[in-house]
């Protein structure tokens, strides 16, 4: 991470996505004494992906806490801490291991405010790297974001770039309700971007339109934004202008941005790495069907993974959607005049 000073006294950094996460955590720890980081290996080791690198040294062991190896506990104590006004930011090491924390998120984090009619709340963040493509062992490559999106009372936020990782994570930490913050680890170190460390959050519950286009709408989130933008670039070379929407907060879903775009283009491709059925793409597609059917000039296409467990790394590429898959689906929407 390289830093330079801006006129406002806030540093500008040329950072990767995982470094932007680190920058946001550092900022949150600096700004709010109630923020604590906890999880497995987040302290001395700085996290297995180094997202919490150097935070223990700067903020001490009371605020950057190595927990025992127990995911249900990590989520559960975060609920307890948050209920008393602290702002725990907990890390689950890989999304494949988040499952024992699900009960706490579903039965408690997402319900505490509602169950107590607003007396207690749960301003916690549960961070986890997710998705495939890094040739990791079994259970290290899952994309189960739809599972959390289906749970009332939780926000599910997914950045797709260093700037959005910084801004969305800060907003997630400041949000009065629980946020599951999923970091696409395949693009943790893919690109560097200028991030101004000014403590400015980016809005949650809002899609980001990354590219304007009149011919079709492409909707995605997380790591697949990378392939989606590559596909849009190739389509542009072929004379097709695709609008690219990064959903960013997959729940609650900002359908307004997606619907406005589809009303304009009449064509839509939804791209997700997760298995095909019952996913976020299914919900987006259903909502377009309910609310913008008459604008559609072609059926909504989905480009997704398969309804299988993620293969062991040798066959991972068979599972992952590709840029070519996205271009093909886009072409299919264009064939229907």
């Amino acid at each position: 991470m390289t830093a330079g000073n801006s006129a406002q006294g806030s540093d500008t950094h040329e950072v990767t996505l995982v470094e932007a996460v680190n920058l946001a955590l550092r900022r949150a720890l600096t700004d709010d004494p109630e923020v604590v980081i906890l999880g497995e290996d987040v302290g001395t080791n700085g996290g297995v992906f180094r997202a919490t690198l150097g935070l223990r040294e700067q903020f001490g062991y009371k605020r950057v806490i190595d927990t025992p190896l127990a995911e249900a506990l990590i989520a559960g104590i975060s609920v307890g801490m948050a209920s008393q006004g602290m702002r725990p930011v907990a890390e689950i090491q890989f999304m494949g291991f988040i499952n024992s924390a699900v009960e706490q998120m579903l039965c408690h984090a997402g319900r505490l405010r509602n169950r107590t009619r607003g007396r207690l709340s749960c301003p916690m963040v549960l961070r986890a790297p997710f998705g495939g493509g890094i040739h990791a062992p079994e259970h290290h490559s899952e994309s189960t974001e739809a599972m959390f999106a289906h749970m009332p009372g939780l926000r599910v936020v997914i950045p797709s770039s260093p700037t959005r990782a910084y801004g969305l994570l800060l907003s997630a930490i400041r949000d009065p309700d629980p946020v599951v913050f999923l970091e696409p680890k395949r693009i943790y170190r893919l690109v560097r971007q200028q991030v101004v460390d000014d403590g400015q959050g980016l809005p949650l519950d809002t899609c980001f339109t990354l590219r304007q286009g009149k011919d079709l709408t492409m909707v995605s989130w997380g790591a697949m934004i990378h392939e989606t933008l590559l596909a849009a670039k190739e389509l542009a070379r072929q004379g097709v202008e695709a609008e690219v929407i990064d959903v960013a907060t997959i729940s609650p879903l900002d359908m307004v941005t997606i619907l406005r775009s589809v009303e304009k283009t009449g064509r839509c491709v939804v791209i997700q790495e997760a298995p095909r059925s019952f996913g976020v793409g299914s919900e987006i597609s259903a909502r377009i069907g309910e609310e913008a059917l008459l604008y559609l000039r072609s059926p909504v296409q989905r480009v997704t993974g398969y309804d299988t467990p993620m293969p062991y790394p040798k066959n991972e590429n068979l599972y992952m959607p590709s840029t070519a898959d996205i271009i093909e689906a886009a072409r299919a929407t264009l064939e229907n005049a």
Binding site: L73, I77, G80, N114, R117, R119, G153, P176, D177, V256
Partner: protein
Amino acid sequence: MFDNLDQAPGKLGYIDARGKPVRELPDEIDVAWLQASYRHMVRIRQLDKKAVALQRTGQMHTYPSCLGQEAIGTGIGLAMQDDDVLVPYYRDQATQTIRGVTMQQILQVWGGDERGNLFTGVAAKDFPNSVPIGTQMSHAAGIATAMKSRGIKQAVVANCGDGATSRGDVYEALNLVGVWQLPMVAVINNNQWAISVPRSLQTGTRTLAEKALAVGIEGLQVDGNDVVAVYQAVSQALARARSGKGGTLIEAVSYRLSDHTTADDATRYRDASEVSQAWEYDPVKRLQIFLHELGHWTPTQEQTLLAEVKQQVDAAVTAYLGEVPQAADDFMAYVFAEMTPTLLAQRDQLLAKLERDSVAQGGGSDDSR
């Protein structure tokens, strides 16, 4: 029953099942304290009886009785200080009411109304009771972590039943109490039955208290039918916790004299003889006998208390039955701090549906909410 209800070496007890003192009472326990405990236990028993009756007459939903658990709840409640935090399970009516949760709120929760969890005052930071078994123990560990991290010299009491000790959640939380030396007192209400499964089928350990050994905290067994024993164990554990000396696991041995809940029928799986034997250890009766034999409880006082309690419980029931219903859309209004556009749209759908049904029934729109 699997665990003997008699007092024995290694199990803390002061007043035995026949109301006889087995050792000198702690200094802070005087007649006024004993009378206050007794009054509270009688009050809770009457509330409990009424709650079951309300369910049987269709005026309340499924209710978990605390019959036989009055000493545990009362001992804990009296041992806690105002700034301690309670993380209860669903048989802690006695503790909750000492901390200012009203009898009406207890009825309200089991009558199916979330507003019963709007605790105020001392209980403002307490958790509502947890239904998924044992999951509350890590909340308590988190609250204790917050206290320790903020340098607050208070402690958390978290309760669960004997069945909960089989869950990883309970082990994970207790393990954290040990490794971080958290100011937390865990009380296991070992009432020997987890619905139909007896304590003997939950674990191979001789006691539940000895599970403390595995996590490096203090553990002890107390007679859960002796309010003095529960009070003393919890008080001392809380004092240790508040002074930074770490957590304690207390196994309070008692017996579930009731069905699991009003939806359960315990005659399907346990002998009447076992239950009638357990009644010999009744926590309320023994304290009455003890006070009476000290010359500090008379039949007149008993009559006065019962009349007073009846009035209090009746007043709570009247208030409970007379509550203004929640607004129809309240169940949507607290999902997030602010309603999302999706929820606002769904609220409109709900209200339109209610309006439609109200019109169909010939009612006015005002009745729909």
